[in-house]
């Protein structure tokens, strides 16, 4: 906003006030991970890295190492993002630009699919996964997550493709390129902001996915950070909330970084399927 007609400090003030509770919560969340506090007090007593011990200590009986699950989580989130974005990008293009039968049906269907309460599909999804032999594998969970998020991705990508000038494509054809080359070399680069925005969205969503890996890949080798975190059951004999928070912060850090790096791309999401 380049106009000089409005002052920004009143807004700054209002926003500051309503953001206060959140900021306090963040600050305490973080402070708690590196300090100890006497019960009932709000002021931490002393600094300690004890709550971060999960990073370097051997995992206890029946637990997996944080580093294994972190790696799994990255694999999970990145693969989900890759597959989802690839499938959205092709399907979105087809629905936006290509001639094909039943196009209306596909588009409407994809929007409607979005209305399904995915969690209650879990039993059925389980059956399918078992049938195709992907139960209890990371790749199975990746595919499921992808399937559930695809309608959103396709919808958004279609919107972005809708905004690419037809002339670019026409020019490509005229230059002798095949439809595929045109898509790959000319159109795709135009929707790059859209692809980036979608990728960030999918990544963030996959990173925090919890129920699917928990239920569909229960064995240790397919655990991810979300399940690791919730599996730190509050020990009712000697609970360590601060460690729980530390794991939470550890878990959130990569996505916070992703957000901070890509927030500009994220701000491009409008222009995808969200445009009227």
């Amino acid at each position: 906003m380049t106009s000089s007609n409005f002052r920004s400090w009143p807004l700054f003030l209002v926003l500051g006030v309503i953001s206060m509770p959140l900021v306090i919560m963040y600050v305490y969340l973080f402070v708690d991970t590196v300090t100890d506090t006497t019960a009932g007090s709000l002021i931490p007593d002393r600094f300690t890295l004890h709550h971060w011990r999960f990073l370097w200590e051997e995992p206890e009986t029946g637990r997996v190492s944080i580093w294994t699950v972190t790696l799994n989580t990255f694999i999970f989130a990145i693969c989900t993002t890759l597959i989802n974005v690839s499938a959205s990008v092709t399907a979105g293009y087809a629905l936006s630009r290509l001639n094909m039968p039943f196009k209306r049906f596909f588009l409407g269907g994809i929007l409607t699919l979005h209305a399904f309460p995915t969690i209650t599909l879990i039993i059925s999804i389980f059956l399918i996964l078992q049938m195709i032999g992907l139960y209890n594998t990371l790749i199975g969970v990746i595919l499921v997550k992808t399937a559930l998020e695809l309608p959103f991705g396709i919808w958004i990508m279609k919107g972005f493709f809708d905004n690419v000038p037809w002339e670019i494509e026409m020019a490509g054809l005229q230059d002798g390129a095949s439809r595929f080359t045109v898509w790959w070399k000319l159109v795709l680069p135009q929707v790059q902001p859209g692809v980036a925005a979608l990728a960030v969205f999918v990544f963030l969503s996959a990173w925090s996915e919890f129920i699917l890996p928990q239920v569909l890949a229960p064995s240790g080798s397919a655990q991810v950070l979300s399940t690791y975190l919730s599996n730190l059951i509050f020990d009712d004999i000697k609970p360590d909330f601060n460690m729980f928070k530390s794991v939470g912060v550890f878990y959130a850090l990569p996505v916070i970084v992703v957000y901070l790096i890509f927030n500009k791309q994220l701000m491009n999401i409008y222009g995808g399927g969200t445009k009227g």
């Binding site: 637990r63 389980f126 139960y135 928990q214 064995s219 059951i233 009712d236 004999i237």
Partner: protein, 426 residues
């Protein structure tokens, strides 16, 4: 022979590691036994207790079993025996081990009973516990109880002399005298659990009709049970919004004498004396059975043992090995490690003769005072719903959304609808 035995334990925290480690110890033992017989056996035990909660654990087990991928051994509530055996997910343990031989013949019969279904022993109890009633001695003294009277409380409760009516009375006095804050006279468990069935029993409620083997809704007992909590709220000894209080806070409060009376699990002992720093447990706290509610009922407590269950496997030999392992893990010595480390109660009579156990005052006293009187919730496929509906009814009455009578009417309607023939309404 090489094989891998997978063990999953639900609801287990860091002090419960012996649920898993015991199997490993058993594996070592079994390997040696085989070696003596000249057979080579290499068992790798894969242990897992990383589950978000009981629900997650049960989803994981059932789906894994449906996929033919079940862990060989699961450590879970005995309540799972009914549905899981019907579904064919688990196999009777009695098909593989000699129940008459050591150490199984030393396990308390009532516990074996609890891990049986349709007259077949499906699992081996892994631990026992119970959910006693607690008194803060100091408050009781201020209410006028002498040390002797306090010492006699367990007996008076057991005999039905001290009832829930007295509980209300004393709690109210404590609040009125400002010994405790409003809402802290009687400070119950903050979430659903077997504990609440105890109060139903205190008013004469039975969960299972012995004759027909069907679930039983005793409307009178249920109403009285709800009424008790409503009265407690009205008398301001219990908070209306008590359900949902954070456990952490709850532990800190009861362990510091903020509440006059409460009820909880035997394993809370570890928490009070550990994390909460209550050094002199016996000097500060008296524990008893849950008092009777009225003349229809009795003082009681419920034990909710976890059990080792064997899952159905394609390879019966694996099941047999697994069966041997849980048998060995039930050795009093091994089980005592778990009992003491996690403040649970033992499963076998001989444990009283093991020093580690016998020297633990809590284990010894609790076993003696509680375990003999303890019954369990019924193994019945509909019990999960029964319990859930019962608690939902309690919550609506407690929070004042419904009167006890209305709440019971709703409970009746819902039970009839969902359980049909499987419930008898009385």
């Amino acid at each position: 022979k090489d094989l891998t035995i997978t063990v999953w334990a639900g609801g287990s925290n860091d002090s419960d590691v012996y649920r898993l480690d015991a199997i490993e110890m058993a594996a070592d033992m079994l390997t040696r036994e085989y070696a003596i017989n000249g057979e080579e056996l290499n068992i790798t035990v894969e242990k897992k207790r990383d589950f978000a909660d009981w629900a997650a654990f049960k989803q994981a087990v059932t789906l894994a079993a449906e996929a033919g991928d079940a862990p060989n051994i699961v450590v879970t509530s005995h309540l799972d025996i009914a549905p899981w055996s019907q579904a064919g997910l688990i196999v009777p343990v009695e098909d593989y081990v000699d129940m008459d031989a050591w150490p199984l013949n030393n396990i308390y019969e009532n516990l074996i009973e609890i891990t049986s279904y349709n007259g077949v022993v499906y699992g081996l109890p892994q631990d026992a516990e119970s959910r006693p009633f607690f008194f803060w001695k100091d408050t009781m003294k201020k209410l006028g109880y002498s040390d002797a009277e306090i010492d006699a409380l367990p007996a008076k409760v057991e005999s039905g002399e001290y009832t829930l009516a007295n509980v209300l009375e004393d709690a109210k006095k404590a609040v009125d005298m400002e010994l405790v804050e409003e809402g802290y006279g009687f400070y119950p468990r903050v979430s659903n659990g077997p504990d609440y069935a105890q109060f139903y029993q205190s008013f004469g409620g039975e969960m299972l009709d012995k004759e027909t083997g069907k679930l039983l809704l005793d409307k009178q007992a249920m109403t009285d049970f709800y009424q008790f909590f409503v009265d407690a709220v009205e008398a301001k000894v219990t908070r209306k919004n008590h359900i949902g209080t954070e456990w952490d806070q709850w532990y800190a409060e009861v362990a510091s004498g903020k509440a006059a009376m409460w009820h909880g699990g035997t394993w809370h002992y570890a928490r009070y004396t550990g994390k909460e720093g209550l050094d002199d447990f016996f000097g500060n706290i008296q524990f008893t059975l849950i008092p009777a509610g009225n003349e229809n009922g009795r003082a009681n407590t419920i034990t909710h043992p976890l059990a080792y269950l064997l899952t159905a496997q394609d390879n019966e030999d694996d099941v047999e090995i697994a069966a041997q392992l849980i048998k060995i893990a039930s050795e009093p010595r091994i089980n005592t490690l778990h009992a003491i480390k996690s403040a649970h109660l033992g499963i076998a009579k001989e444990q009283s003769n093991i020093e580690l156990y016998a020297n633990d005052r809590w284990a010894a006293e609790a076993t003696e005072r509680l375990l003999g009187q303890a019954n369990a919730q019924p193994n019945h496929t509909g019990y999960g719903q029964f319990s859930q509906i019962m608690f939902k009814g309690l919550e609506t009455a407690w929070t004042g959304t419904r009167t006890p009578a209305e709440a019971v009417a709703e409970v009746e309607a819902e039970m009839k609808a969902t359980l049909g023939d499987e419930v008898i309404v009385r």
